[in-house]
């Protein structure tokens, strides 16, 4: 009897301790698969409704993509990841310029791809936990090709505590890893200087 009470107390204390600890931790909670799924479906319908509008203009598409990127993507985290270890050697000025140029670069590319939208649809096929993140699986159904494209979305917790897309994996190819590899190559071939990348980004974004 006594032992049981003691055990109960210990258990109670432990549970209390755990609760107290978790409450004290920063709110970097794991993203639930459901929340991640919601983010992706919401984003897909938003994108499609703009793109399917018959009178859409190029600048509307650009704005839409830019907005989607800002509200649904962990853009700062993505930009940092893509710059990789070179981020540490960059000065604050270089960092700031990089962030601006990278955003322009990405918006330019994707706005351009959006323009080709021809009525493709998105099916969310599942979501699973992946450590602190969630992976949402989708299928993009093409118009004239019976074979859909498999796209996985890695959703993380953004700086504001909300679910945010951290990577897009198309047919097993991670866009962030590809971009990171490309930027690393440019910097390495430019003598390890971040300026080499900035120069290329400037040229590329200026020509759009």
């Amino acid at each position: 009897m006594l032992r049981r009470t003691l055990l109960q107390k210990i258990c109670g204390l432990t549970v209390f301790g755990l609760l107290a600890t978790s409450a004290a931790l920063p709110a970097q909670a794991a993203v639930s698969p459901d929340a991640a799924k919601q983010l992706i479906s919401g984003m897909a319908s938003e994108a499609i409704s703009t793109l399917a509008a018959p009178d859409r203009t190029d600048s509307q598409i650009r704005e839409t993509f830019s907005g989607i990127l800002q509200t649904n993507f962990d853009f700062d985290g993505i930009a940092r990841f893509v710059l990789g270890r070179y981020g540490r050697t960059a000065t604050p000025e270089q960092q700031a310029e990089y962030q601006t140029l990278f955003a322009k670069y990405i918006v330019g590319i994707y706005a351009n791809r959006f323009k080709q939208y021809a009525g493709e649809t998105v099916d969310v096929t599942g979501a699973k936990q992946d450590g602190e993140n969630a992976i949402v699986s989708t299928r993009i159904n093409l118009i004239n090709n019976p074979q859909p494209i498999a796209v996985d979305w890695k959703v993380t917790t953004g700086a504001d505590g909300k679910p945010r897309v951290a990577d897009v994996i198309i047919e097993n190819v991670s866009m962030s890893i590809t971009q990171r590899s490309e930027f690393a190559s440019i910097i390495q071939n430019g003598g390890g200087k971040v300026d080499a990348l900035l120069a290329q980004l400037r040229t590329k974004t200026a020509s759009r």
């Binding site: 791809r113 021809a118 493709e120 090709n145 494209i149 047919e171 590899s181 440019i186």
Partner: protein
């Protein structure tokens, strides 16, 4: 109304993939600096002969831009789709013997059976392979190659990156695999023994054009949007190949 995008629709999956991109996308990850070098992300690709590879890539790019790409697209656009399907069925059927050998070497008895079954069904009922009858009975086209066989024997690292003339991205392991597949291919050996070298060359060209056309949108998109397309193709290839081998060997 909505602009039609023949380019998008016509291509196979990878290409579209770029479009999908249309659906948003992009890179990213880790919200904190500690993750920059985490093991979760593959370290940079081993490329000790980068200057040589870049040279070959430059030549390939010129050849592709002015000859191979346009010819592949012409093949895709001009040849009626049913004929393309017949041609694809035909060369895929001829791949079956070497695929069967590789499946066996990988210890994949089911895969071996499927490849052998396909070869007989399609060669006979499919009139020399021009119709893919076998797929209706679940004997699906599941390609493999000697690079995968090497991986199954323990060469799970691809070795250094290699750009092959005209054929493009590869690796030490997969380049060796291609060579072995060519040398050991029973169909090629029989054909060469019967003075059918030119016919075999025709089959190879058809396969090349078919594959090239399928990747057209992805290739053009990568060239257009990359700051360093050599590095982009290198990364795309490494990731795709690793995922493909993982899927085949069921790890």
């Amino acid at each position: 109304m909505i602009k039609s995008t023949a380019t998008v629709a016509r291509s196979a999956k990878l290409p579209l993939l770029t479009l999908l991109a249309g659906l948003i996308l992009l890179p990213g990850c880790a919200s904190n600096a500690a993750d920059y070098n985490s093991a979760e992300y593959p370290s940079e690709i081993n490329d000790p002969i980068e200057p040589v590879n870049r040279g070959i890539h430059a030549v390939n790019t010129v050849a592709d831009r002015f000859v191979l790409g346009p010819v592949a697209n012409a093949y895709h656009d001009v040849v009626p789709t049913p004929f393309q399907t017949v041609i694809r069925n035909f060369f895929r059927n001829l791949e079956m013997p070497i695929i069967a050998v590789n499946k066996l070497l990988q210890g994949n008895v089911d895969g071996f059976g499927t490849a052998v079954g396909r070869f007989f069904v399609n060669s006979i009922a499919g009139v020399g392979g021009i119709a893919d009858i076998a797929s209706y009975s679940g004997l699906n086209y599941e390609p493999t190659d000697f690079g995968v066989t090497l991986a199954s024997w323990g060469a799970d690292e691809p070795g250094f990156y290699l750009v092959l003339p005209l054929l493009g991205p590869s690796s030490l392991r997969d380049g060796i695999g291609r060579g072995v597949d060519w040398l050991a291919d029973p169909v090629r050996i029989v054909a060469y023994n019967n003075e059918l070298e030119e016919e075999m060359m025709g089959v190879s060209i058809a396969r090349y054009l078919d594959t090239r056309a399928a990747y057209d949108a992805a290739i053009r998109d990568t060239r257009k949007n990359s700051l360093d397309d050599y590095a982009a193709f290198r990364s795309l290839y490494a990731q795709r190949r690793a995922a493909d081998i993982k899927a085949q060997l069921g790890e």
